[in-house]
Each structure stands twice: as structure tokens, then as C-alpha cells.
Amino acid sequence: MLKATRLPEVLKQGNTSGVKGAILIQPDGSPLSSAGQENDSEAHQIVVTAIISNIWGLYNKENSELDYMIVDCEQGRVCATRVSKLVLCIYGDEKAQFGMLKAKAQLIREYLEGPLNEVYH
């Protein structure tokens, strides 16, 4: 089982140097857990979740070994990666560096892979 209040604490640790938030997305597209800014609206997270899980799903269908996905937008940057059966999505503003986003995603992924694998066995 999952102690759901622990996850946001882990995810929040990445929210520095331009990173605005992190979301763990389930295979069906629903958010399992997230950590964002205080003034972030719920709607914003839902939009990010929906769009990223959709794009990931599309690319994943073509190439099921998709490991990292980096998206450069007008007002922000996103890095998504696979963690156990989930998709971890880290998003920041346009000043966040891609390498740094990817490194954070990698670290959080390594940290959560084991525990989450147990939940999803």
C-alpha cells in the first residue's frame, strides 16, 4: 500500500532553481501525487497532467522503450520519465536548464523506483 502523504514531500524537494512542480501520473492518466507552488491552481496541474500523459502515451505507442521526454514550450519546460508503472513529470519555467531538469528527474526516479515497484508489484 501507499502512504500517500509522503510522496508530495519527496517530490517537493526538486522544486528549486526554476523548477515549478512535479507530478506522478498513473497509467490511466490520473495524477497519483503532486507537489507544486502554493499559488498553483489545481486546474494548472490537471492540465499539465492531461497533456503530458497524452503526449507520453502517443510516443510510447510508437516506441515502447521511451525513457525521457523533454518538451520546450513558450513559457516553460517539461521533463518526463518513467518510474515503475508511472510517469514522473517535472516542469519549470523557461529559465530552467534542460540538463538540470533531466538530472532531477533521474534522481527522483531512482529514489522512488524501488518503493513504487512494490506497490504496483
Binding site: 501507499l2 500517500a4 502523504t5 498513473q26 490520473s30 495524477p31 497519483l32 503532486s34 506497490v119
Partner: protein, 303 residues
């Protein structure tokens, strides 16, 4: 596992109506169609899958009652786990000669033939009493019955088919019949704590009677369980009347989220969350993670 449950009381006291609402999916209004029960109606109800309730709905007309205490006495009163005696609250009975005699006879018969049986007294049709008098009337009747039945211990309930009190009484009755209920309760408490839920309630699938519950937060409405049983049962019935099959429900507002999910083969679970930081998919994930464990716990009782 078979348990014999005797349902007795005077003619017209409401036994068959109660049984129909709890076990046969009648709504309260439908019970006006019921006719007097002739002799004994036997119904076999599966509860929690492996627990079979043999419900003996004994017609209350005087001629049948006489038979129960003479020729059929052993047949009826032997091997019973529970005796439910229904009193119509409007029937002014007192200890005067002749009144309460059937109840006393039943008590003696049960003491002779099934000394370990639990005895429940339902003071029924409470809706016919003005609301401000109900507590007093119930307390008075309860005291009378308790002294009458001494040294046997009885449990009294005030019930009506028109509100949730019926569910409360029957939940407690079947709770007394479930083996290993303490084990289930402690496991449910653990689940509640891990999930960080305010409350977790386990319902039986067909009747929606509460089997067990666990909570981490106090709630001021003590009657909430039976109210929920009542509401969900009605909703389930109206779903089937329109041809669909109730499976699960999620109710969310700014204060809480409630999840009602099919749990094991014979139960539903209600999980109440009030922590806004926990997303609903996390709770649903936890419910599906714990489901196989409870399937095992509930199956173990078959042995």
C-alpha cells in the same frame, strides 16, 4: 456455516416487512402489499458469502403461536443462534395476565432448547409515536422487557421501516453472528491508518448492513452508518430498477472525498478521506492493493 435465526412476534407486528426490506430488496412502501404469514416462512439468506442465515419467519397469528409451543416446540427452538422478538409499540402490553405470555413462552422455549442463543427485542413501528415521546416510550418498554427476561440478557432496539433505525438493529444482529469479527476489525483499523482515511466502513454486499468499521477521527453523528446503509441501498435499488448495476461511487466536495467501492466478493467498502493533499487515485490504488488481503481474511472464516 449455517446459523438459525428465529423471527417471532404477534400477528401484524412487522416481521415479514422487516425481512423483506433487509433481505429481499423491498422498499418500505412495497411492504403494504404483504399478507399475513401462514405458519412459518423459511428463507435462506447468504450473508458474507459463506454465512447462511436460516431465517424462520414465524407467523404471529394465535393459532400458529399455539403450535410453536406445543407440537413444534423442539423443531422450532432447537439449534437457534438468534431469537428476534418483534413488538408492535402500539400494542399496549403489560405484565398483566395473558399479555407478554407469548414472549415469555418463547423465552422459556429458547432457554430450554438453545441456551446460548442471543436474544434481540425490536420495539417496532416507532414512527407511530410522536417524536418527543419516543425516547421515554422506548426506555419504558426496554426496562419492562429486561426485567421480564431476567436472568437471560436481551438487547433492545427501537425500529421503524421508515427510517434508518431498522438497519442499525439488523446490523447489530448480524454482527453478533459473524465469527472472527475482531480480526476483521483490527485489520480494517490498520488499513484505515495506512490509507490516512478518516473512516473506513465495511458493508455486506446484498443487504448493505454494516459489518465493521474503523476510524481515525471522531464523528458527531452516531447514526451515520445506518443512514448510509439506507441511502446506498435505495440508490442501488433504483439503479437496478432502471436496468443498471451499481458498482462504485466517488463523492467529492471541498470538505471530503468518499469512495464506495466493491471490495471482496461479498462486501463493499466506504473510505472517507478529508486530506486535500491526497489524490483520489492514490486512495483507489490503496483500496485495490488491500483487496486481496481482505479476500483472504474473509475467506478464512469458512474453515
Amino acid at each position: 456455516m449455517k446459523k438459525k435465526v428465529l423471527l417471532m412476534g404477534k400477528s401484524g407486528s412487522g416481521k415479514t416487512s422487516m425481512r423483506s426490506i433487509i433481505f429481499a430488496n423491498y422498499i418500505a412502501r412495497d411492504t403494504t402489499r404483504l399478507a399475513a404469514t401462514i405458519d412459518v416462512e423459511y428463507s435462506h439468506v447468504r450473508f458474507l458469502g459463506n454465512l447462511a442465515l436460516n431465517l424462520w419467519d414465524c407467523g404471529g397469528q394465535q393459532s400458529f403461536m399455539e403450535n410453536y409451543f406445543s407440537s413444534q416446540k423442539e423443531h422450532i427452538f432447537r439449534n437457534a443462534s438468534v431469537l428476534i422478538y418483534v413488538f408492535d409499540v402500539e400494542n399496549e402490553e403489560s405484565e398483566k395476565e395473558g399479555q407478554y405470555s407469548d414472549f415469555k413462552d418463547s423465552l422459556h422455549a429458547i432457554q430450554e432448547n438453545s441456551a446460548d442463543a442471543r436474544i434481540f427485542c425490536l420495539i417496532h413501528k416507532m414512527d407511530l409515536i410522536a417524536e418527543d415521546r419516543r425516547e421515554k416510550v422506548f426506555a419504558h418498554r426496554c426496562a419492562e422487557l429486561t426485567s421480564l427476561s431476567a436472568p437471560s440478557k436481551i438487547t433492545c432496539f427501537a425500529t421503524s421501516i421508515w427510517d434508518e433505525s431498522l438497519y442499525k438493529a439488523w446490523s447489530d444482529i448480524v454482527y453478533a453472528l459473524i465469527p472472527n469479527i475482531q480480526v476483521i476489525e483490527s485489520r480494517l483499523q490498520k488499513f484505515c491508518a495506512i490509507c490516512e482515511a478518516d473512516e473506513v466502513v465495511l458493508f455486506e454486499r446484498a443487504t448493505f448492513l454494516v459489518i465493521s468499521h474503523a476510524q481515525t477521527k471522531e464523528h458527531k453523528d452516531v447514526q451515520r452508518f445506518e443512514k448510509i446503509s439506507n441511502i446506498i441501498k435505495q440508490f442501488k435499488l433504483s439503479c437496478s430498477k432502471s436496468g443498471s448495476h451499481f458498482q462504485n461511487m466517488e463523492v467529492t466536495n471541498s470538505q471530503f472525498s468518499a469512495f464506495i467501492e466493491m471490495f471482496t466478493g461479498n462486501t463493499y467498502v466506504l473510505v472517507l478521506m478529508s486530506n486535500p493533499n491526497i489524490k483520489s487515485s492514490a486512495t483507489l490504488l490503496n483500496i485495490s492493493a488491500v483487496r486481496p488481503h481482505f479476500e483472504r481474511y474473509l475467506k478464512q472464516e469458512e474453515k
